[in-house]
């Protein structure tokens, strides 16, 4: 039996006057998946999330949440979604527990389950012992984020949408939020938007890259690497004339290019090498480079391109495509 996707978006477009925030966005999220929504500021991430959570209507296109059309039945969709908006707005004058109880009532949590639901959400977010009775206005940024996530968890929604959950947090707090997201994996479908790439790479099963309102790439980090940066990359440390490395490899029929050269000690440099040839090139490279007199090879290691590089490649390609598709103005 075919499972109903948690989220299905088809040709979703939203215009603000003459400005197109998102244009014909299509994607699907399976139940239990943790998906990262990645894009530069103003790419259309928040607009897409606001449409999915029923706050805003789309100009055209359709979105289904748990098999229910958002435009036709936004009320029902809101029961399935826990949403934490960008900047995590919270009322400063309320206590954490008061706020979560108030939100539970708004989310139609039955009266007899209300205390248990609030307690569970606070325990998952590690608020129960530390910040239960604290006034929200006095909390640190990390705890505020936890309160926002606890709020999104209330009512046990099928889908949790978090818009920039780690923005403005210190590394310890980011690690805490990451663990929290890991705890949600499998139990809920989670969509996280962010422009902080390592976050998405570590937390998400799949990544959707959006730029200028269009989806420019979607897939796992591995799939994206293969699509956008298919070449092999190596990190090597050489002593001596580092400029001779690329020339030496080219002379042996290997299409190589030095992307970055960082001096690490006197006469010693770390090179970031891109090789266009396919296959397992490591042994071949070691053999060629270790037999040279102009430099000494100290180390060679394959280097996986990180999401930042994939993101830059994907957004660059989309910009180039946008420029190419623009009509040329005749003189």
């Amino acid at each position: 039996m075919e499972t109903i996707p948690s989220i299905r978006v088809k040709d979703l477009t939203r215009q603000y006057g003459a400005l197109t925030a998102i244009h014909k966005v299509n994607f699907t999220v399976k139940p239990g998946e943790v998906v990262g929504f990645l894009g530069p500021n103003g790419a259309g991430k928040s607009t897409t999330m606001r449409i999915l959570s029923g706050i805003m209507s789309a100009t055209s296109g359709s979105a289904w949440v748990g098999g229910i059309c958002v435009a036709q039945n936004p009320h029902e969709v809101k029961r399935k979604i826990g949403y934490m908006p960008e900047n995590n707005p919270l009322p400063d004058d309320m206590r954490v527990v008061e706020y979560l109880r108030f939100r539970s009532r708004l989310k139609e949590v039955p009266g007899h389950k209300l205390r248990a639901a609030v307690k569970e959400a606070m325990e998952i977010c590690d608020l129960a012992r530390t910040a239960r009775r604290k006034i929200i206005g006095t909390l640190s940024k990390g705890f505020r984020q936890r309160v926002g996530i606890a709020d999104a968890l209330l009512g046990d929604p099928e889908i949790i949408i978090m818009d920039e959950p780690t923005i403005g947090l210190d590394p310890h707090q980011i690690q805490g939020i990451r663990k929290l997201i890991d705890n949600l994996r499998g139990k809920h479908t989670v969509i996280i938007s962010s422009h902080i790439l390592p976050e998405i790479e570590r937390s998400c099963d799949r990544v959707i890259i959006i730029n200028r309102g269009r989806i420019v790439a979607a897939g796992t980090s591995k799939e994206l690497r293969e699509e956008f940066l298919p070449s092999n990359r190596f990190s090597l440390i050489v002593e001596g004339n580092d400029t001779a490395v690329a020339a030496c490899l080219t002379s042996r029929g290997i299409d190589a290019d030095i992307l970055e050269c960082t001096p690490i000690a006197e006469n010693r440099s770390e090179l970031n090498l891109r090789v266009e040839n396919e296959g397992n090139l490591g042994p071949q490279l070691i053999q060629i480079l270790s037999s040279q007199r102009e430099f000494i090879l100290h180390s060679l290691a394959p280097r996986e391109p990180n999401l930042e590089e994939i993101f830059l490649a994907a957004t660059k390609r989309s910009w180039e495509e946008t420029i190419e598709t623009k009509p040329k103005i005749s003189a």
């Binding site: 949403y83 908006p85 707005p89």
Partner: protein, 241 residues
């Protein structure tokens, strides 16, 4: 949010201080120059003074404040309808506004306790004008609070919402009275124009209510305008999401 905000209680304290002072001033004035009008009637005839500042203070934060800090978004993601949001904001502010007026009954009670000889005349707590005045405050309050909620729904700035509420209340309360004065000074007006001007005169309504004349026209004026403004507020938050 209304009842957890310090603004609300500051507005309440200011209201009670001002009304206490006005009540004292009215009683003192009556000692110096005896008047035929009851102190209760005189007291409620200055209802517009606190309305000008209490209504903006109670309502300016209702939607504009939530919109400016972003909590309106989180509210809209819950399965609560827009109508319910507007009605609950309205109900909260209205009930608190009425509670403040109910607390002013404390003034004649305190006076009665302190000066039992004055109270013997029964002038301080005469029931009929008291009920009539409260009925007027309850019905006119519907309109005043709905003006505030509507002004708050059209902007994200609490200051702008407050100024809009104050200006609209000024036009509705004082403008109606001025129109009445102009109509009186302008000689003969057609009967429908006189009826229309009287329909909008809030002070006339207060006079009628405090004398025990319960007319359905003011009820219709206040409730219909309230429904209209609350309906517009719902449409505004729907469109400005």
């Amino acid at each position: 949010m209304l009842f957890i905000s310090p603004h609300t209680y500051i507005a309440a304290v200011l209201f009670l201080c001002l009304m206490g002072f006005l009540y004292w001033a009215i009683l003192r004035g009556m000692v110096n120059t005896p008047s035929e009008t009851l102190p209760t009637v005189q007291f409620f005839s200055v209802f517009w003074i606190p309305v000008f500042f209490v209504v903006p203070l109670l309502t300016m934060r209702s939607i504009a404040g939530e919109r400016s800090i972003g909590t309106l978004d989180t509210l809209m993601t819950t399965p609560t309808s827009r109508v319910a949001v507007i009605l609950s904001k309205f109900a909260g502010a209205y009930l608190f506004y009425m509670l403040l007026w109910v607390l002013t009954i404390g003034f004649p009670l305190v006076t009665e306790k302190l000066y039992p000889n004055v109270a013997e005349s029964g002038a301080l707590l005469e029931l009929e004008p008291l009920v009539g005045s409260f009925l007027f405050l309850a019905t006119s309050g519907l309109l005043f609070i709905s003006i505030g909620v509507f002004a708050s729904s059209v902007t994200r700035s609490q200051l702008v919402a407050g100024m809009l509420t104050f200006t609209t209340l000024f036009v509705v309360i004082i403008g109606g009275q001025q129109m009445g004065n102009l109509a009186d000074a302008g000689g003969e007006l057609s009967s429908w124009a006189v009826a229309a001007v009287n329909y909008l005169q809030i002070f006339e309504h207060l006079d009628d209510f405090s004398r025990g004349i319960i007319d359905t026209r003011p009820f219709f004026y206040y409730t219909s305008t309230t429904f209209l403004l609350l309906g517009f507020s719902t449409l505004v938050i729907e469109a400005k999401a």
